[in-house]
């Protein structure tokens, strides 16, 4: 097991009706900016509930933070935060609204030239405007971690940021929200969380028995509850396991003491930036060919995954490992997710080359758990995913 440090101060309020406790989690006398997305919260009743809970506070609203939160839109919200002297941010939405809020939380206190520095220079935010979240779409885990991903349409870039000040003060998770989420978003959420675990698990063994089992627990649970969630999102037992699995998948418990990969995300972000493919779908496209391309490095963990998660007990290590990749593809496909890049775009050659070029331009440091994947490896992985 590798050395690690861990601290996660986010307070979780989980279950039916937790929105009733919203007001007591926000500092009294706070001037609140309420941030949300495309307006779905106005259809499912959450907007009214939040309005009601926020009555004790002075509240300004900022809607329109869509999937892949856009820098230029967020800069409009930043202007409001500064001019209106906002003291608390409340994100009501999924990962995109929460990520956008994290950017604003950091940007509000950033003294440098332009807040875009936070992304390009990977500045860890140690001082930020406090914020809380009301999660309406389980997927990214952003509700209990300190990371965010921001997109800039102008430059077709999608970059990550974070820092110890960017944990939500609190997150309210009521699994009942799941009943009004469209099937496409449910499938994306399950796929996203599943890939978050794979990135922290399909690497190489370091004798971290407990962390391996914890990762397998999340994968097994997602596999178990996926059919019920897709068939009947008002099934509260399935919904609550889905929601908590998404949070546990990326709240920092799973990667403690183990190597992590994240190459699938790095490549996936480029596919979203270039072609607008849903984030979760880019992961389902890239993960299988990434594992096949880097098979030697990953086969021991893949075989363990095959045995413990997919009950594949026959065959050699390599055979079990290969079979686990097929099972993973079938799992995504079973959710209605296409796992081939050709099902989304026919311009794969240019895609592979563009991604390779971009990584090179940004100052290449090597991807994957061994930091040894070259731009050429990335090009091959993208080609294989076609």
């Amino acid at each position: 097991m590798k050395n690690f440090k861990y601290q996660n101060p986010t307070k979780i309020l989980f279950g039916k009706g937790q929105l009733e406790n919203l007001a007591e989690e926000i500092p009294s006398n706070a001037k609140v900016l309420l941030l949300y997305g495309g307006g779905s919260i106005k259809k499912n009743g959450i907007y009214e509930q939040v309005q009601e809970a926020l009555k004790p506070f002075e509240v300004i609203e900022f809607g329109g933070i869509r999937a892949n939160p856009e820098y230029s839109i967020l800069m409009q919200a930043l202007e409001i935060i500064k001019s209106q002297k906002i003291s608390f941010l409340l994100a009501v939405g999924g990962g995109s609204v929460i990520d956008g809020t994290k950017f604003l939380s950091a940007a509000a206190f950033y003294k440098g030239e332009t807040p875009w520095d936070l992304l390009t220079q990977k500045i860890a935010s140690t001082n930020a405007l406090p914020f809380g979240t009301v999660l309406t779409l389980p997927a990214t885990g952003s509700e209990m971690n300190s990371g965010a991903v921001i997109t800039r349409a102008e430059t077709k870039e999608k970059l990550a940021m974070g820092g110890p000040a960017l944990f939500p003060k609190f997150s309210i998770l009521d699994p009942q929200v799941i009943r009004s989420i469209p099937p496409r978003q449910l499938a994306n959420g399950i796929t996203d969380a599943f890939n978050h675990v794979l990135e922290q698990y399909i690497t190489y063994p370091v004798g971290a028995s407990l962390q391996d089992r914890m990762a397998e627990s999340v994968l097994q649970t997602l596999i178990e509850i996926a059919p019920a969630v897709m068939q009947d999102p008002s099934d509260y037992t399935a919904a609550s396991n889905f929601m908590w699995s998404c949070t546990m998948a990326l709240n920092g418990i799973l990667p403690l003491g183990v190597p992590t990969d994240w190459a699938v995300h790095a490549i996936g972000h480029e596919l979203t930036a270039l072609h607008g493919i849903d984030h979760a779908r880019t992961l389902a496209i890239i993960a299988p060919s990434h594992y096949r391309h880097n098979f030697e490095s990953k086969k021991d963990k893949l075989a363990q995954y095959a045995e413990r998660v997919w009950n594949i007990t026959e065959g050699t290590t390599a055979a079990k490992a290969q079979e686990s990749i097929v099972k993973t593809e079938e799992f995504f496909q079973g959710l209605g997710i296409n796992t081939k890049l050709s099902q989304y775009t026919d311009n794969y050659e240019r895609t592979a080359q563009t991604i390779m070029k971009r990584f090179t331009e940004r100052g290449w440091t090597g991807l994957g758990e061994n930091k040894n994947l070259t731009p050429t490896d990335v090009e091959k992985i993208v080609e294989m995913a076609y």
Copy 2:
């Protein structure tokens, strides 16, 4: 799944050499009271390392906090905290030293008549003197939670306390400490952590798939690493899994959304107070007869435990459940732990009656996950454990 709230702000520094980072975790200008136990840290080199790390601070020492931390001894430390205007407590030891430090942290700020109120009146501490820990004995999980158990010899009482202010600011966990722990303490540590999980898992099903699997992960890991830890405590892989399992067993992740029991601890504390039996051993004595006495309520979870943790796949639910209790006893016995009360004391009748009488005197509220165990049930469980 039941509703839950969760927040755990403790910072964990885990791995080889983390003691080097001690000084930067303590506020500069702190006046530190260094608390420790029976002096084992002076034999294994940790005392010197802590001394070295604490050079930037003004430090006063208080040793002699033994197993089952004693109220009258802690009151001497409280006197020093007040007279010397101590601003930070550092616990270096196992669960007893850390629990004693938590009591002191709360008592230092307590304005009531006597700090014993914190235990008898179950006062939740919301304001306390800050403290950190250096863990030298994995077992209780106290290094990452906000609970403590204090003993008072004068009245033969052992009572629990806690509160949101009683999380350690940081805990340093270096698995290398395990190599100098005597076998008896290693066996106790494994047994203690195992029973912590059972108290949060062997109840009744509520459809919390992820939490069940997380609990099973800790049990499976403890079973896997126990032989290696007992045979060679310098095996770092086994030691690190042992140490992290003990922390994860009681840091608040496992009980989220599920019913918990804790009757085994309630009864076990009385056995320690009456007969001085090691805490972990009281759990190994009581758990099997508790599960047999409350078999109907617990058999579904026991059967799940049988299947997933002990690979018992044949037989009826009841047969599997019964077999899992036998397996649990054998596991403790394999660590050199006697699981029968008669192996510790021959006065079992008086013991059972005394415990029943004490619970009655204290204002009975019912034990177990259904809060329906009567003093008579407790008497029977203790008799069965003979």
